[in-house]
Subunit: 334 residues, 2 copies
């Protein structure tokens, strides 16, 4: 349901990310060690399951955002690692709950928690992970970290519910679509950036800019994730579009295909599209201006992410964050 971060970007993309995050290696391994230790803070009843959830995690995108938003403050490394652990735990908890709801059996190539321990335990383990993230947040000197994390978590949940109810809604507008992806994905990206800036002590002006950067980068990332299967060979595109139509799932391309129609004509057009074969669907997508407009929307988010950082050339993280925006920007072109 949320972003699938499992190696979709291929080897070139992976190598690009590895080069970009190479300076973070010491912090990322401190994070691994911290999460391993942190699993001991859970009651024995849940410890094994939490350890399992921590061990099968993805690309650490949100910790990377924390670390670069707080880059250049080595004396704050412990706080940055703690903030990174908090956002990663919230992210992993949402994945645990998503996997229950999607009845998913595999994630990152390993059995999901729900597959291994059942839905009952998984709902509660996700809850316990949320709670422990907030326990860690309460260890900071002020209530700021609690506030940012709790608010972001509430908004992520609202986004996922919004997505659930958006399925099959033929009045879905571009505004509603963007609101869902901003809440369900971008919200935790922006919280990560804000907390990195906060933990490093960079002040409210840069924290606000980092927040805006994270919001746009997260939106771009989810846009990419939604359309990644609509780029490449015709057969795959047509098949993906057909599956999305059949399940009532809206992606930006589908929305653009119907958004200029009067409301009463949309249902008919969706039914007509659903009746088409894969080749015909792919043709419609590639001939019109739809994918061009999707790319335009995507590039606008990447540009807005970069622009947010322009007033802060003196902040050490601004350059690597721009590099990260370029990396995400390249995902849809490849």
């Amino acid at each position: 349901m949320t972003t699938d971060e499992a190696g979709r970007t291929g080897n070139a993309g992976k190598a690009g990310l590895a080069a970009l995050t190479q300076p973070l290696a010491p912090l990322l391994s401190q994070l691994d060690a911290f999460l391993e230790e942190e699993s001991a803070a859970f009651e024995p009843e849940v410890r094994e399951m939490v350890r399992y959830a921590f061990a099968h995690s993805g690309k650490r995108l949100r910790p990377i955002l924390v670390f670069y938003s707080g880059w250049g403050a080595p004396e704050k490394a412990a706080d940055l690692v703690k903030a990174a652990a908090i956002v990663e735990m919230v992210h992993l908890a949402t994945l645990v709950h998503d996997d229950i709801l999607d009845d998913a059996s595999l994630r990152h190539g390993a059995p999901t928690l729900v597959e291994k321990y059942g839905a009952h335990a998984s709902v509660l383990v996700g809850d316990a992970m949320f709670s422990q993230a907030l326990c860690l947040a309460s260890e900071f000197g002020t209530t700021e970290v609690c506030r940012v994390v709790a608010r972001a978590t509430r908004r992520v949940c609202a986004g996922e519910i919004g997505q659930t109810f958006a399925r099959g809604d033929d009045h879905l507008s571009r505004e509603k679509y963007f609101r869902v992806i901003e809440l369900k994905t971008a919200e935790l990206f922006r919280a990560s950036c804000r907390l990195g800036a906060y933990a490093a002590g960079y002040g409210e002006a840069f924290a606000g800019a980092a927040d805006a950067y994270g919001m746009h980068l997260g939106t771009a990332y989810q846009l990419y994730d939604d359309v990644a299967d609509l780029v490449g060979d015709e057969k795959k595109i047509g098949k993906t579009l057909g599956t999305d139509l059949a399940s009532g799932k809206f992606t930006l391309p589908l929305l653009l295909l119907i958004e200029n129609l009067p409301e009463e004509a949309r249902r008919g057009e969706l039914a007509r599209l659903a009746g088409m074969g894969p080749a015909e669907l792919a043709g419609i997508l590639q001939e019109g201006t739809v994918m061009e407009r999707v790319h335009g929307a995507f590039r606008a988010q990447i540009d807005a992410a970069r622009s947010a950082l322009v007033p802060f050339p003196e902040i050490p993280g601004a350059a690597p964050l721009c590099g990260l925006a370029d990396y995400v920007g390249g995902l849809l072109e490849g």
Copy 2:
């Protein structure tokens, strides 16, 4: 799964509680108004569901504990109401998740959230309620409220998982049983008492005592809840015991029936009990010392709750809290 607070105590019990909490009426109605306003803080995607969950709530036991633990500090009413809203929201969130796991269709006489909106939305609404409780916690001047609430929530989840795995465990000891009920029920009682004392500014010594009081009262309350259907007429007792045996659910009486047997004999004894009819089962329970020992364990918790408050006669809430302990103490006798 957690305490069923739906009118089990009958009219006499209800009247007793109403008299005890009559002085709290203004605070309780402020709490209702606060929760109603608070539902507007949620994103529009979840607001209707949250309002539904808030409207179908129970006896407000945890808010009552907050209010009496902070009794006598009218200038702190706003903080006490906020603390009460926090613990009630955490409690309601756990009920939302419990009802999904138990596939429950009714609670307090109304359709559950999962019955009305489905499991998918309910998992996320529960998450959003947890998150908003922590948002409120972050509005206090220090991180203490966040810390207490997040820790309690984590421990409640651990208790519920412990309970899940305790089902059918014929090596279940009295220690394991008490640990489960302390975590799943008493933990939020003690957090409620601690937060009331904190919000009223009564200092750490009384906060610690209120915490201990809450722990013992919560344990007694869950003991009562576990055995309430094992008191009264023979037919009901035998039937309840039979159902518990068949589903592998342990209550203290069942545990006491087998705890003195060598481990290898327990499974056989459980099978023998499961093979009995309701009348025979009720007879075994009533003839032996089991129910006497259950009452003893229950009274010990009530006494410990009262004792915790003895050193604080000057705290205005100590007397009504003792009254509340007497009320709970009377539940099992009735």
